[in-house]
Subunit: 442 residues, 2 copies
């Protein structure tokens, strides 16, 4: 146990971290490394600064060299990947050797989980699976309830070495335990930050809008613009080192951030849809719940994406009833009741059709609100009049029917995502507005 | 110019690469590093093996230490980020110092582009923007038509050092030039690899199944297991170094891989659904196109996810007609025609209901095939009999109706994704099997 050393090093500043991803899939560009970003976010929120992220191959020498380099005093090293059951997964072996393990121990709790998982999947438990419960005697096991590979926690010299499976879902589950253990072990001072979610304003417009407020911020607060082409611009306000120096009375500082956030909310107005981790669909869901109202969708170009987003929220069955994906025009008529001549005279991608779809969905699905889309996601199907990226969106509710035209660019996926986001934002705005002076801003 | 050294080092093996991303945004987990994956794919396809990817902060010492470590003979080092106009962007300065620049040169071509961009944006060109055209005299400029920061190519000792802006769009544009220059300079031999996509077999079962085949592989071929909890296990067979030594006649080696792939396909059988970049939904789409058949979905717990996956493929309107998301039981009856008593006596999550949903969808959507799901995605709604993760799936088609029970684990998102993947796999198997001796394997 080296908490002594770690405490010492801590007094020189923050605990620091390295994140190492092992495996070829990332190195050959087959997959994008999302794990490191997740781990980094968790560590940063704990007040541990990530110095470096690395992706390396599952080559023994390369792993050892890297570990030798990054295991500095006061360092938390999180390694993901290479814990699968097959022979090319060598992380566990290498970590055992690196930390000087003298024997291997079977972790009974993990073994039982492996048995359960293989049984539930109607598989015989093979030798390879069984061996996943064996760990070097130098580690403390982080039992993985979500998969067969256990996490491992090594107190190695003056640093903490943590090994997690590369499956994002399992890694995220185990990071909970890691987070708790780190907080128990060290006197960490979490970074305080709050993030506002905005939609519909470009970064530069937003910047001009809040310029005076930003100028007047105290110097120890840091504002970051984090634009996302689908979900809008996130504004994050943080306090870092100042908090560290003053951690005995951090609440006045947190309150100062809270005050600034209140001011900022007022300046941004209706473009503000929530605060992290809110999403357009979670906010719409919350508003529906509050109203005791239900919603459904009628989708053409979005192909079920809006329904899929709404139902990604736990508890959505309380307000979401269902959806008609009417990709084929015959279904717009047969199920949603859009008159054939409305389609013939205006085209399927038109204000008339999308409004009729929204009204039809409300009627057929027996909901209070409905969202509809009809557009050209491409790459084919565009015309000079209605190029790829032309999308009509409508919402229908007790207040009436509203429609908007989105003219966007990008590949098929991006156009579908943007259409879904804009349609959900329309729903959110309709739900947020009072029914008397309702006005839609996009 | 050091191409001599590089040629020499090349005879010892492949050109290798390091990719370095500079900047805090990635280290704090705010954005996922997609640039490295892109660069890696380009380099791998050229036959340059990426040894390591790193993300580091824009700290001078950290950058210099890292460069000292990675600039090995025969190495291509690609650095992205830190080329912005503001003072915290230090990459160019550091690279100049590292490569021993004695003076700075204004690149007129880039300066003109900067003038054009600032004019188009109605900005006055400031000193900061103008300075972006200045580069160290140790580099060759890669003119950036898409932005203000030029790329830089350094012949540094025995390696190539390349600096690119971090904006993905600009980086991708400049990687074209990098790719061409690398091919002109070196006799590169692209890596040959093929990847088979499997579904429904755990990694360990698959490993045991193909153990004999794997054992008998020539030593110059490398097999990788790349499991994905949703899309199945990918098996990638590659040849690297051997090809380099024998690049005058590389086609026999590629054929040897092709032969092994043919053998492997036969061993895996119906668990094999395609070859990269195939997905379960793209394969199902292709089979439907070939048959001239149409499909629709009736979704409960998957909430539109299956429809969304199918319509993510360009051209899917040729075979996808639409979908009924019947989240609320009343819609299962009202739209899909599932008898109320079938729901009452068996529960909504049952073989009977999901089969009636599939048949209903086929009838209502007027399609040849239909896929249906009904299950408990959680986190609420589970019972001892039917815990969270219990999902019934059915396919209906001219051959009949088939249903399967999936008992899976994970969070809501994972359960929805797995249900969608399993249902699409059922459709794929039904479409692949001849109608006479159709038997479903999961």
């Amino acid at each position: 146990m080296n908490s002594q050393h770690l405490s010492t090093s801590k007094s020189h500043g923050l605990l620091s971290a390295s994140i190492i991803t092992i495996g070829d899939e990332i190195l050959i560009g087959q997959i994008v490394d999302t794990n490191s970003a997740y781990i980094s976010k968790v560590l940063n929120n704990l007040g541990i600064r990530v110095e470096e992220m690395l992706s390396i191959s599952d080559d023994k020498d390369h792993i050892i060299n890297t570990l030798n380099r990054v295991t500095k005093p006061g360092r938390v090293v999180v390694v993901t990947g290479g814990l699968g059951p097959t022979n090319d997964d060598i992380t566990k072996k290498v970590l055992g050797a690196f930390t000087g393990a003298r024997s291997w121990v079977t972790n009974e709790a993990q073994l039982n989980i492996i048995k359960g998982i293989t049984a539930r999947r109607n598989m015989a438990m093979g030798t390879l699976n069984r061996a996943q419960a064996d760990v070097p005697d130098t580690c403390e096991v982080l039992v993985n309830q979500k998969g067969t590979a256990p996490g491992m926690w090594f107190d190695y010299r003056d640093c903490i070495l943590i090994s997690l499976p590369g499956v994002p879902f399992e890694m995220q589950y185990l990071m909970e335990q890691v987070s708790q253990k780190l907080q128990q072990r060290f006197r960490l001072t979490p970074i305080y930050h709050r993030s506002l979610m905005t939609f519909g304003l470009p970064e530069s417009t937003l910047a001009e809008m809040i310029a005076d407020w930003e100028q007047a911020l105290p110097s120890y607060m840091k504002l970051a613009y984090l634009p996302n082409p689908v979900t809008g611009v996130k504004l994050r306000l943080s306090i870092y080192d100042y908090l560290i120096e003053n951690d005995k009375n951090n609440s006045p500082l947190a309150s100062a951030v809270d005050e600034q956030i209140t001011k900022l909310r007022a300046i941004i107005g209706s473009a503000l849809y929530g605060e992290e981790p809110d999403t357009l669909h979670s906010v719409a869901g919350r508003l529906l719940l509050k109203k005791g109202a239900t919603v459904g969708t009628a989708e053409s170009c979005t192909g079920g994406k809006i329904a899929s987003l709404i139902t990604s929220c736990a508890g959505s069955s309380a307000y979401f009833k269902g959806s008609i994906v009417a990709y084929d025009n015959s279904l717009k008529t047969a199920i949603l009741g859009v008159p054939t001549e409305t389609i013939t005279s205006n085209g399927a991608v038109s204000r008339q059709v999308v409004e009729a779809m929204a009204e039809g969905a409300r009627r057929v699905l027996q909901t209070d609100y409905a969202v509809a889309t009809s557009g050209i996601a491409g790459p084919g199907g565009g015309t000079p009049d209605k190029p790829v990226g032309t999308v009509w969106m409508a919402t229908a509710g007790p207040e009436g029917v509203y429609s908007e035209l989105l003219s966007t660019t990008g590949d098929r996926e991006r156009i579908i995502e943007r259409s879904a986001a804009n349609a959900l934002n329309m729903l959110r705005l309709q739900l947020q507005s009072s029914s008397t002076n309702f006005k839609l801003h996009m």
